[in-house]
Structures are given as C-alpha cells and as structure tokens.
C-alpha cells in the first residue's frame, strides 16, 4: 500500500517537470496573443518599440540578443578551447586540480557581479580606448564572453576527457607530439562533444540577463555601431516589465519572453540531441 503511494508520489513529481515546462509555453503563448494579433509578423521584424503610442516591434531587442551573443562567442570560443586544452592535457596533476576547481567556482559567481564589475571597471576602459559612452554592444559582448567562459571551458574539457588514454598513447607511440595528439586524435574523437558544449554555452548566453543589463545601455533601437548602446531581449524584460502600463505593452513583453524561450530552447535542444549524445558528466 505505502509502496503504491510512494511510487505515485515520485511519478507525480517527475511528471510535474514536464507539466511545468508545457505550462510555461502555454502561459507565455496565451499572454502574447494580444500582441501577435495586433502586430503579426511585424512584431519580430520591425525596429519600432514605442510604449507611449502602444506600438511594439521587437527587432532591436532580438537583434541585440543575437549579435551580442554572437560576438561573445567569437571572443570566448578560442579562449575556452585553449583553457580546455590546458586543463585536460597540459596541466600536471597538482595544478590540474587547482585550476579545474577554480574554473568551476568562478562559474558559480552570480552574474550580477560580472555586470557590476563591467559597469564600474571595464566600461571606463572602453570609454578611454574608443570614446563614446563605453556602454553598448561591445561592452555587453565582452562581459558576456567573460561570464560564459568558465562554463564553456569546463564542459569542453569534459568532452575532451572522454578520449580513451590508449588512443592518445597510440599516437604518442608513433612519435606524435602533444599538439599532434590534440589535433589528430582528441579533437576529432571528441568533436561532437566539443561542438555540443560550445552550442550549449551559446544557449545559456542568449538568456543571460544581469551581466548584460548593466552595460548594454537599454536604448531600444538597433545599434548604429558596435559602440552604440542598445538592448537585448532579457535586458528589455528586466528594465521594462515593471513599468508596463497597458495590456498591449504587457502582451508584447510576454511575446519577447516567448521568443527568447523558443530561441534558447531550440539552441540547447540542438546541442543536446544532435551533439551531446555521448558526453555526460563523468563518463
């Protein structure tokens, strides 16, 4: 008897996850319909975000999200791969432990703090170097790349570590150097896992709010240059949700949230189902 109750309790809890996820999509969708009906496709394609006249085209926010994330990846990927190689192949036992744990602890620092550091310490540097206000697309991309780096390096390292030792030894046994082994054996072997890890990090970066809110500028227009202040979907949501005053405004914000969820979900699902079949932490 108790057995059946327990079984059902656990099954209920597990199904709850699926239910909540589905519910999230449904709720966001329902609350977006007003905006979707009002603007149709223009919602995504028009750069026209004007709360005072209740007109909402979210192109600027979407553009900001996509471009800032893309730039952040451009910076973070080579560095993350370099760090992953260091952690998995170069570091000797003692340092390996220290660096490995450091990287994972750094990934635990709340993103707000990256934003604060970015605003007070990094933006002035950008201002000095490039002029302008300092806050904007470039600042956001750089802060974002620093923020996502520990996670990206850690999962890429995990992917590389799945390479069996004797496979590496076989290459050394033919007279290969470390770099030969890395480029000819490890990277091809772990290719799927590495790409999957990078895409997974991208999925995370797209949804990043706090690190970026401080330094993006919150100007709801597509940027004229890489130094212009602009916005992204999470930044818009963070800044405007509590200020929305009409139901169309709210509906548009929900529409943004739904767009972000779909984008992020899609990217992460691709990473997971297409690339990361083999790699699970520790295997």
């Amino acid at each position: 008897m108790i057995d059946r109750i327990f079984h059902n309790m656990t099954r209920f809890s597990a199904l709850l996850i699926l239910f909540i996820v589905a519910w999230i999509f449904v709720v966001l969708f329902n609350h977006s319909t007003e905006a979707m009906n009002a603007f149709g496709f223009d919602f995504i394609t028009k750069d026209e975000w004007a709360p005072n006249v209740d007109k909402f085209g979210a192109y600027a926010a979407i553009f900001g999200s996509v471009v800032s994330t893309f730039l952040a990846m451009l910076i973070a990927i080579p560095v993350a791969i370099g760090v992953a190689i260091f952690l998995s192949e170069i570091a000797h036992d003692k340092i390996k432990g220290f660096f490995g744990v450091s990287v994972e602890l750094l990934a635990a620092i709340p993103s707000v703090i990256y934003g604060m550091w970015g605003l007070f310490y990094f933006v002035p540097i950008l201002r000095d170097l490039f002029g302008g206000m300092g806050i904007g697309l470039l600042a956001a991309a750089i802060v974002l790349s620093i923020m996502i780096l520990p996670f990206m390096a850690a999962v890429t390292r995990d992917a590389m570590n799945t390479t069996p030792d004797i496979l590496k030894e076989s290459a050394y046994a033919l007279g290969g150097t470390q770099w030969d082994v890395i480029k000819d054996v490890i990277i091809p072997y772990a290719k799927a896992g590495i790409i999957g890890s990078l895409i997974l990090a991208l999925g995370r970066a797209i949804g990043e709010t706090m690190a970026v809110t401080f330094v993006m500028g919150n100007v709801h227009h597509t940027p004229s240059s890489i130094l212009s202040p602009t916005t992204s979907i999470p930044v818009t949501l963070a800044n405007e949700f509590t200020e929305a005053d009409s139901s169309l405004y709210f509906s548009s914000l929900f529409g943004l949230a739904l767009t972000l969820l779909i984008m992020s979900f899609a990217v992460i699902a691709v990473a997971k189902f297409y690339f990361l079949r083999k790699v699970r932490k520790g295997q």
């Binding site: 108790i2 057995d3 327990f6 079984h7 656990t10 099954r11 209920f12 809890s13 199904l15 709850l16 996850i17 996820v21 519910w23 999230i24 709720v27 609350h31 560095v79 370099g82 190689i85 260091f86 170069i90 744990v101 602890l105 750094l106 635990a108 620092i109 709340p110 993103s111 707000v112 703090i113 990256y114 934003g115 604060m116 550091w117 605003l119 007070f120 310490y121 620093i146 780096l149 390096a153 470390q178 770099w179 030969d180 480029k183 999925g203 995370r204 797209i206 949804g207 990043e208 709010t209 999470p234 949700f241 509590t242 914000l253 929900f254 949230a257 969820l261 992020s264 979900f265 992460i268």
Partner: protein, 281 residues
Amino acid sequence: MTATQKRIIMNRVALTFSTLSTLIALAFLFWILAILVMKGVDALNWNIFIYEGSPPGYEDSGLKHALVGQLILVGLATLIGVPLGIMAGTYLSEYGKNSKLAHTIRDISDIMMSAPSIVIGAFVYAVVVMPMGHFSAWAGAIALGIIMIPIILRTTDDMLQLVPGTLREAAFALGAPKYKVIKDVVYRGAKAGILTGVLLGIARVAGETAPLLFTSFNDNFFTTDLNEAMPSLTVTMFNYAISPYEDWQQLGWAAAFILSMFILGLNILGRLILFFGKKRK
C-alpha cells in the same frame, strides 16, 4: 627544417597559446574577484546587519531587509524545490529507469537547467502575481523553486544510480518492500551525493536576480510577510549598484561580497562532503 622539427615548434606554439589563454582568462576572473573582495570588505560594517534600507544619504542604512529577505526566499524555494526534485529524481532512478518517459523527463529537465531564468520570472508573474494582484515572496520563491527542481532532480538521479544494484537486490531478498529498499538502502548509500546536490542547487538559486525582478520585486523595507513584496540581496545589489548614489553603490558591493561568500561557501562545502564521502569508501 625537417617535418619533425616543424612539428615540435608547432607543438610549442600551441601549448604556449593554450597556457596564455588560460592565464589571460584567469587574470580577468581574478581581477573581478579582487574587486569584489576589496570593495566588499571595504563596505562592510555592523550597520549592514542592524539597519534596513533607506533613501540615499541616510546615516543609518543597512541590508538587514535584504539579508533576511534573501534567506526567506531561498529557504522557501528550498522547501519547494528539494522535496519535489528528490522525489522526481527517485522516480527516474528507481522506477522509470530507462523507459522512454524517463529519458524524456531527463532531457527536458536538462534543457531547463540552461534555459533563461528571466522567462521563468515572466511565467510566475502571469500565474501568481497577476491573480494575486501584487508582488509577493510566494511568487519569488516559486520562481526560484522551479529553477531548483531540475538541478536537484539531475543530481539525485545520478547519485542514486551510483548505488550498486546488488545492494538493492540484497534488501529485496530479505523481503523488504520497494519503498523501504529505497528509503533504507538507496538513500542512505547516496546520502553524501544528494546532500551535495542540494547544496549546489541552493547555491545556484541564491545567486539568481532576474526571476525575482517581477515576482518578489524589491524595496527597502524589512518584512517577513510572505504576501508582500520581499527584498532580496540580488535585486537590491542590482538596484543599488546601478543607481547614481555612492552610499547605495557601497552597500551594493557589500551585498555582492556577502552573497558571493555564501555561495562559494556552499560550493566548497558541497565538494568537501563529496570528497570525504568518497574517502570513507
């Protein structure tokens, strides 16, 4: 130059680049940590724990409201997220195992772990804040709880699966019903791992700001009323740091420091538990 000589040079170049990128990355990250510690410690004083928040310029200003609020929110979220997460993880490991349903749940849960937390905030706004008519600690805690569940689910599932099948079989062979096998043998065997998962889940959720922005909202007043907006360290940090007032910014750094120490502490504690748990075996 022979091909092998070229390879050796290439090797040196590649390894140097790799080491350099690690040093640069760590330099940036330690820079951030150093700022955090310096500004945080500088801003620390007893007032923080005595006084609640006040308008900028006030002498007696503190973070009591935010500290207590954060504890309440995270505590409530833990009460929501941990039992559900552990139960769900138990289902996956002990009942669902390799069924299609179990794999689907694992996959969806995994995706949720990396999904944007601000979206969860929007969701909870729609289903809790709007019906209630106002912000509340409940809303914030539910948002955090939803974020916590996949994390706890995953670690519980992984840790329970590590318990050898033979242990379960031995218990069954003695005539124990399934729930007892799970309760007395499996949970006990995975105790350290589950605890670590919980600590790491709490650490992760304690650092979240976005989902609280429009669920528990934030203000400067100390309160323990769960039906009201509840201040949090994270949102306070955000509001204060982005304000133009220097004393508020100071408090922001103090909050950042306190929160980071708490989160790092939980992380380290979690790892130590796992480490000593392994050692005993």
